[in-house]
């Protein structure tokens, strides 16, 4: 392996461990945080199945956002759906043989990048052009958008402007996954920039606002059943206090 490859190999091992461990820790924390009150946003489903459907439509269509602000919804949804397809397309670098459905969506993933980047540009435009939003935007809000945009644009340049040796790239990545370090990373500048930005994203993900991705599933206003009259809501945490008082 070349020196550069060793550097990137270490970077990606570290970034992966930080991402997985950091996310796991956060999810464990969210799961253990008590939800003492019954506070689903009404009208709420009255069955558990209903809640699953509600969370699903929220995650897939961003229903609440759609009701509150059409512009943010449009750009946000474009970005997230684009990102989803683009990520799915990237599975070709990590699977051998490439799964059939991943081959099938390649062309869609290619053009989803435009939706993704347009969505990001829209969201950033809002932060800069809407004075009220500009006032409440922290540097990290801007930097996060810049980082995502940087990743999107560098990736798109490799697809649409100047190709890199993705056969070599895949050999390098499969090598990392199998602890076989015999294949060097191709040293195309665009690729190096793209990968560096991705590693930065992986590292800061578990300490950033992007935690809304796992967080949405733990939102009590979203994931609770409207059955306060049928069943008494007693958080495990409050149950102890309750038992003490009963004595």
């Amino acid at each position: 392996m070349s020196f550069l490859s060793i550097l990137y190999a270490i970077l990606f091992y570290a970034a992966t461990i930080l991402l997985v461990a950091g996310l796991g820790r956060k999810i464990a924390q969210y799961a253990r945080t008590p939800a003492p009150l019954k506070i689903p946003t009404m009208p709420a489903p009255t069955t558990q199945t209903g809640v699953v459907l509600r969370v699903a439509t929220e995650v897939v269509f961003f229903r609440q956002l759609f009701k509150s602000n059409k512009w943010i919804w449009l750009f946000g949804w474009m970005f997230h759906m684009g990102l989803f397809l683009v990520l799915a397309r990237h599975l070709r670098y990590f699977t051998e043989p490439v799964w059939a459905w991943v081959v099938l969506i390649q062309p869609f993933g290619k053009y989803a990048a435009f939706a993704m980047v347009a969505g990001l540009a829209g969201l950033w435009g809002r932060r800069i052009l809407v004075e009220r939003i500009r006032y409440i935007s922290a540097p990290s809000d801007h930097l996060m958008l810049a980082l995502l945009l940087g990743i999107g644009l560098s990736g798109m340049s490799m697809t649409f402007v100047s190709h890199v040796d993705i056969v070599g790239l895949k050999a390098f990545l499969l090598g990392l996954m199998r602890f076989d370090w015999s294949h060097s990373l191709p040293s195309d500048a665009l690729l190096l920039i793209h990968l560096l930005l991705v590693a930065i994203l992986m590292i800061i993900f578990p300490i950033s606002k992007l935690l809304h991705a796992p967080g949405v599933f733990f939102s009590p206003t979203l994931n609770q059943v409207d059955n306060a009259r049928e069943k008494r809501h007693l958080a495990p945490w409050a149950a102890g206090l309750d038992a003490d008082r009963a004595e």
Binding site: T16, I17, V20, A21, G24, R25, A28, R92, Y93, E96, P97, V98, V102, V103, Q106, S162, H163, V164, D165, I166, V167, G168, K170, A171, L174, G175, M177, R178, F179, D180, S182, H183, D188
Partner: protein
Amino acid sequence: MRKSQRFNILFGLAMAAVLLSGSAAVFAGVPVPLLPEPVKSAVEGEESCVLPEDEMRRVHMDRLKHQRDDTMHEGVRTSRFSLKECISCHVTKNDAGEKVSVKSREHFCNACHAYTGVTLDCWDCHASQPDGGQ
């Protein structure tokens, strides 16, 4: 040490262990496309591709499409990036000595394309073997 801190450290170690063992389980050498040696039938004495290998890997798709557009729209028929020429140098024979079709992963072009999930419609019209076979 606080209880939560200890939990964090243990959790981190556990995750690392899962990662390591998970990957080690699939340790089996890295699959790479096995590219057959080009058969230099078309151009006597030519030992290399139309561009250096490194460059070929990165630009052959753009050059081929350029060539196609030049041919189709302007009637320019040079042979440098002609699909026919690619195919005649890069014919692939299997163990039995038969030429393989582009549907097989043994075919020179498809070895890489299958590896990277690329599908081409070119072969709907163009032959993938020098004698016109699919």
